[in-house]
Amino acid sequence: MWHEIGLLADIPRRGARCVTTPQGRIAVFRTAEDRVFALMNRCPHRGGPLSEGIVHGNSVTCPLHNWVISLETGAALGADEGSTPAIPVRIVDGRVAIRLDESHRIAAE
């Protein structure tokens, strides 16, 4: 189901904010062109917080070991292999919402 998390303006351009959820932290990114993406806040390499990375184009560079992760798919780009789950995100009237997979919640309970 969809959860509203805040305004587009709350996220810095070429930056990210975190959402705390029962499934763990989710990073919500805003690109220079105001596109918004959400990924689990864990680099597929060593679990680095992707929300702290430098956002460039439609990718983010992990702050721990410089893996470059696609914001669109969550997959590592270049020579590295691995992937972090991408979270559906939408903007309605400048308000950002993400969709959490409810089956996770049931599994978590």
Partner: protein, 816 residues
């Protein structure tokens, strides 16, 4: 015994002559040079790129000081020769030095022509001839005010473009109806004018200068029709005149220039003349190719009899203004016996014209697309009959014989004797032979061995294509390592262009320098952000989204995503009150680890990001500021206890360390900077492996730098000994500022020093007081914006979004 050769003038022609001479007859002559300019031989053709900021003086030096020493040449810098005594065979300089000669070479070059109008001698009116002129223009350009360039020829337009690139409002005044009328036909002159105007430079043609007006200094140029064009800088670039005064005074035969035969001898057999001052076969020359030919002939004549003689040839003209492609060679006046082929493509801004007589090319003008220039010039030189390809001639080489329009194929198809480098007269065969026989793989090596593309550089592309053809995959053209895959420019070029073009935002840099990606990457953005912070401390708005997380949140990220916090302990000195405050913070925030660092301070590890502002707030109350342990900036100044306690201490090392740290904290640098001050040569603060270190001795302070104790281990270099603490501080600050301005992002001081040379750094920081002071002042200016405690800012609310989640979705909410 070596014979004595004296040369008057140290320009490009005598420099080249000596190269030929030392190669053909090493040790034959003992050489003495008098140079009116106070410097070595540099590439005068490249003054325009220095003016526009695309090159620096160091890039255009042809013979460094070492070359003169190596070849045993005595060089009198800043000595103007005032008399030649032909009977006694001596010359005398204005500083009273007299040298005898067996052979004398006069290479006094030319002087700029000054139009004799009222006001021509006002301050603010300068010519465009040597490095001093360029420096004067650069100084004037800092005002960003209005400049007038008188003269729409090659030099005038290059000066105008350079001043425009430096941010001045420029007007070109040209007396003829079209620009560069001696090299271009009116159609190409018109296109050139459009291109110049598109750069924001105003062009007034058919405009004759009546006077320079102004009260005590130039304030404007008055034209014959009474119009006054306001200007604080007036550049006269209307032409040059051979500088033959000295020769005339010595009784040598002088016409327009110093008259020589085709072996460059004047009417005194012991005296030769070469360069722009010489007149050979009734012609004087101003372009480099014929001057280099004179150099070759004169060197051969000095070695002995032979048949190397000067032969007139048409020289191609190229304009060195980035983004304007223009090529012209030969004769293109209209005449009854001539035919012409013209191609125009208005939308692409292309104009090509080839002038023929009896099916042979006698002149070529290319504008907008000049890659076939060498091919046309080759056909002209060989007087080839072009009847068979006449229909397609104008489309260039690629269209002949059905060859594909592959630039490599075009170069491959050139004959071995086709000229590649017009300036230095180097043909294709010579370059290919040098590459294969000497095993050359880098462009700079090819330049060094053949001189091809070593003067004006416009044939660099051709030389590189020849290297690709000859070496195949073995040639790696990226001689300059690009900053990252977003650009083909290296760090140094980017830094230079940021200053030269006045680029003050990251988007402006990316736009102007043609970045290949829309918003860069994690490599180039932090580098650009640093360069802009360093170069425009008062104007640039720091882009935190282009900083690595540690610098964005002012703490060090750890492998589990928590942070460590290191407050500053000035010089490693602390107190019970400070230690108590740290203990309280550790308890309050349940900080799991506390450690003493290598830089004499205390690290608290494992702090959650959300807690950072709280931790800082408590530390701030105890008087702590950020230790910048996360920054590419000044980290610590480690000290020993010095004269306060130590029985061996020679100076107050603790006090000096604290003073340096308080002066320099907060400054951003290309990479981290760690310092130390030891109170005696026992060196307990380990100053001799730091980026900058001080060893106190009885007689003062020995300043060290360029040490390393990380991935590489390296002892420091000694910069020098100074007497007082004040001097030590000034030297250290100036050194750091020089590194800030020249270092490549992430390049530590020891790597930068290796690249620049310790001697050069010593020369600029220790020997040149004026320059040291300028570096110091720029650092102090920058500090007035940089010395803000980032922790205090964040405690009071700055960037608070950084430290908390945008939202929390709990089970209850998720279940809705």
């Amino acid at each position: 015994m070596a014979r004595k050769l004296v040369i008057i003038g140290n320009g490009m022609a005598p420099g080249r002559m000596l190269e030929h001479l030392f190669e053909a007859a090493p040790g034959r002559f003992e050489v003495t040079i008098f140079n009116a300019e106070p410097r070595v031989n540099y590439d005068r053709i490249m003054l325009s790129p220095v003016l526009s900021g695309e090159k620096s003086y160091d890039d255009i030096v042809i013979h460094g000081d070492g070359w003169y020493i190596q070849n045993g040449v005595t060089l009198y810098k800043g000595h103007r020769v005032v008399a030649i005594d032909r009977a006694a065979r001596t010359v005398t300089s204005d500083q009273g030095v007299t040298e005898g000669y067996d052979r004398l070479v006069i290479a006094t070059g030319s002087v700029p022509f000054i139009i004799p109008v009222p006001g021509a001698n006002l301050p603010g009116v300068i010519t465009y001839r040597d490095l001093d002129d360029v420096n004067a223009m650069l100084l004037a350009a800092q005002s960003r005010q209005r400049a007038v360039v008188i003269g729409g020829g090659l030099l005038g337009l290059e000066a105008a473009a350079g001043l425009g690139a430096r941010g001045m409002d420029v007007t070109v005044i040209h007396v003829m109806p079209t620009l560069m009328e001696r090299q271009l036909d009116p159609a190409a002159g018109y296109l050139l004018q459009k291109a110049i105007e598109a750069r924001g430079i105003k062009v007034l043609t058919k405009a004759s200068t009546k006077a320079i007006v102004g009260d005590g200094k130039a304030e404007g140029v008055e034209l014959a029709d009474g119009t006054i064009v306001p200007a604080t800088l007036v550049v006269m670039a209307v032409g040059i005149r051979p500088n033959a005064v000295l020769a005339r005074d010595a009784g040598l035969s002088v016409n327009r220039g110093i008259v020589t035969d085709d072996r460059m001898a004047t009417d005194d057999p012991n005296i030769l003349s070469i360069g722009e001052c010489a007149e050979v076969g009734g012609n004087v020359y101003g372009l480099v190719a014929p001057l280099y030919q004179m150099a070759r002939v004169a060197a051969a004549a000095l070695v002995g009899p032979g048949d190397v003689r000067f032969v007139h040839a048409d020289t191609p003209t190229k304009l060195k203004v980035t983004g304007i492609d223009l090529y012209s060679v030969g004769d293109f006046a209209v005449g009854d016996d001539r035919e012409e082929i013209v191609l125009r493509d208005a939308s692409a801004g292309i104009y090509k014209r080839v002038v023929l007589r009896d099916n042979r090319i006698i002149g070529t003008v290319l504008y907008g697309e000049t890659s076939d220039g060498a091919w046309f010039a080759d056909l002209q030189k060989k007087q080839a009959d072009i009847a068979e390809m006449r229909d397609t001639l104008i489309f260039g080489q690629a269209f002949q014989g059905g060859a594909a329009a592959d630039p490599l194929a075009a170069v491959a198809a050139l004959a071995d004797d086709a000229e590649i480098c017009g300036c230095n007269g180097v043909c294709k065969g010579k370059i290919v032979t040098a590459i294969t026989s000497k095993g050359l793989t880098a462009l700079d090596d090819v330049r060094a061995h053949t001189k091809a593309s070593a003067s004006c550089g416009t044939c660099t592309g051709l030389v590189e294509k020849l290297m690709v053809l000859t070496l195949g995959d073995a040639y790696n053209p990226a001689a300059v390592q690009p900053m990252c895959s977003c650009t083909s420019l290296g760090h140094d070029e980017v830094r230079r262009l940021i200053k030269a073009k006045g680029l003050k935002t990251i988007p402006a840099v990316m736009q102007e320098l043609e970045w290949k990606t829309s918003c860069g990457c994690a490599k180039c953005r932090p580098a650009l952000n640093y360069y802009l912070v360093c170069d425009w401390p008062d104007e640039y708005a720091d882009d935190y989204q282009s900083r690595f997380v540690n610098e964005r949140v002012h703490a060090n990220i750890q492998k589990d995503g928590t942070y460590s916090v290191v407050p500053r302990m000035w010089g490693g000195v602390t107190s019970a009150q400070e230690l108590r405050a740290i203990a309280d913070v550790v308890d309050k925030f349940a900080i799991p680890a506390v450690k003493v660092t290598g830089g004499q301070r205390i690290d608290m590890l494992g702090i959650r990001k959300e807690d950072l502002p709280g931790v800082w707030s408590d530390l701030q109350k105890a008087g702590f500021v950020s230790g910048h342990a996360y920054a590419k900036g000044l980290r610590t100044v480690k000290t020993c206890v010095g004269t306060d306690w130590c029985r061996f201490g020679t100076q107050d090392s603790t006090g000096l360390g604290i003073r340096i740290e308080k002066f320099m904290w907060g400054s951003w640098t290309p990479a981290k900077v760690k310092m130390a001050v030891s109170g005696c040569p026992r060196n307990c603060a380990e100053a001799t492996c730091k980026d900058v270190g001080v060893i106190c001795v009885d007689s003062g302070f020995e300043v060290h730098f360029a040490g390393a104790a990380g991935l590489d281990i390296k002892g420091t270099e000694v910069l020098g000994l100074v007497k007082t603490e004040d001097e030590a501080l000034e030297v250290i600050v100036a050194l750091t500022q020089m590194y800030r301005e020249q270092g490549r992002y992430l390049e530590r001081i020891y790597k930068w020093a290796k690249r620049i040379g310790v001697d050069e750094i010593r020369r600029q920081i220790l020997d040149d007081g004026e320059r040291r002071r300028a570096y110091y002042d720029r650092f102090v200016f920058s500090q007035s914006f940089a010395q803000v405690d980032p922790w205090a800012e964040r405690v009071s609310g700055k960037d608070k979004h950084e430290f908390r989640p945008i939202a929390t979705i709990g089970y209850a909410e998720a279940a809705e």
